[in-house]
Amino acid sequence: MKKTHIPKLDEFLGGGIPAGSSILFCAVPGVECEAFGYQILNGVIEDGYNGFIFTNVTEPHNIIYEFNRYGWDLNKYLKEGKAFFVDGSSNFIGIPPMGKYSIDELSQIEEVVLKAIDDVSDGVGVINNISTLIDYLEDDKIIEIINKWNECARVNNTILVYIFTKWDYKPELVDAVKSTVDSVVSLTSIEERVIIGQGFMVTSASWLHPKNSMVLYFVLQPGGVKIYIPKILVTGPYNAGKSSFVELISEESVSVDRMALEKFPTTIAMDIGHVDHNGFVADIFGTPGQERFDLMLDVLAKEAVGAFILVDSSAPQTFGRAKEMINKTQSEAIPKIIVANKQDLPGAMSPEKIREAMKLDKDIPIIPTIVSENNGVEMALDTLLKILYGD
């Protein structure tokens, strides 16, 4: 087993990647992917093994520069012979290649990488990336080559890490690529008009049933891939039922007085909870509804990946305020749902009427609830999670 040195990933994979296995990081365009390959290489070398990087997207010296930005010293490993490059990029643009092996012609790629895999027995090879090869070699040829590489890796106990960007390819091709490897990690984006978060999830592994949890991550320079537990806001006008809602969805929740939080200088009450629902983990922040706390809402919205906006369905005079709060979270482009609470009260408006009254975009879901009776709460939670993480 080789540790990936990527937080949570080793846990999901049952300890790491078995020697001789292959793993594919499959990212939608726009989501950071290369860092995973580099971080694994760095970690495995630090653990005492050798590694190589095959690159056809950028020259080796740029990769060395990237490593530096992450805070890792690739140059040292190169000098000590622990790492080397298979340079498939430099000749393509007419600059002198760098590294133990270089590729002049496409037909050489298969052979040269096989040599490299052989060279780093019991180590790791990073292939960055497969997408660039697809157009130069025919689809079948690619599959054939990857299979050969994997076979060679098995024999040599080398781990192969493939970087793959899932452009608009035919689904059959994507499936074919995925089925050539022992394990697939899907990298996806959380979007609300723009990418606001990135997540990874192990979607297959031949040596165990992977945990199907999506983990949100950043790529920090320095630092590399770091995971984070997302914040979800619960907000809305005064007296819409926020505290009760937070309490209900959380494993354990606590109402904190500001003294416990250094961030906010004024005395306020805030509800903090922690959700662990179907493998999805988040910290819940219930904000006070009064206007004077809106500054805090701005700050929290910057770090939140989603929001529940509670309204008292029987108090249309508060809708204007609710709309204001929607706009505050809107500007940070985070997914949100409206929780139309207090459906049991006389005069409670239905979700459609509320949508009309607030002139809401039809994309924003409105879920009716009676929080005091725990009615509709789980549906609200599931709805937001579905928007965040897809199916």
Binding site: S90, N91, F92, I93, G94, I95, P96, P97
Partner: protein, 237 residues
Amino acid sequence: MVIKMIPCIESGIPGFEELTRSNGGTGGIPENTATLVYGPAKTGKSIFGNQFTYQGLLSGEPCLYITTDKGLKQFETSMNEFQWPIERYLEDNSLYVIDTISDVSKGKLPKSKTVVQSYINNPTDIMVKVGSGVHYIYRNNPRFRSVIDSATTLLAYNDNMLIIRVLKAYLMRVNEAGGTPIILYTENSADRIVETMLKSLVDNIIRLDGKELVVEAMKGIGKRSSPYLITDKGIEL
């Protein structure tokens, strides 16, 4: 109205400055821009390149000259024919020649810091030599010129898209270092796509058709043209 002053360098071609003059400007080749000089075979493109080079040398501007059709000896001879002696500039290192065509086994290239051998079918090696050349020249001179004579031969010997990328890198490097490059090319010697790519790489396009010099595009001015002659002194408008 704003009068746009574009710094230019002297072309060395009599009449060219007049042709390319605009309000308030001096005319000439806009400094630090890339120019393509193209046209049918034998219309004086090489002469244009040589004249441009010599003008620079006279003004104290070194030149990075990449030759793919003529070896150094032939180049020297043709310069001498127009009375543009380059020997002293080779000696004082202000003319830096990358010779990609002379047969190393036969001819003896003079041992010099600034006369360098490369190989027409090895664009990577050419780029390395270009990098060293630019670096050498740039250290002592903020202003310099560069000529590739010609892109045609490069394209004939190598994968076309590779040459486009290499030319792009060449232009980026020369531009970054403050130089003013000219690329020569024989019209229709490569396919339409490559030729269009070539034209889109540069800032200025000049066409020589044997009778007329047409400035098809130039930074700061519109299309201009003038008849020209090739005399024993070079090109004259």
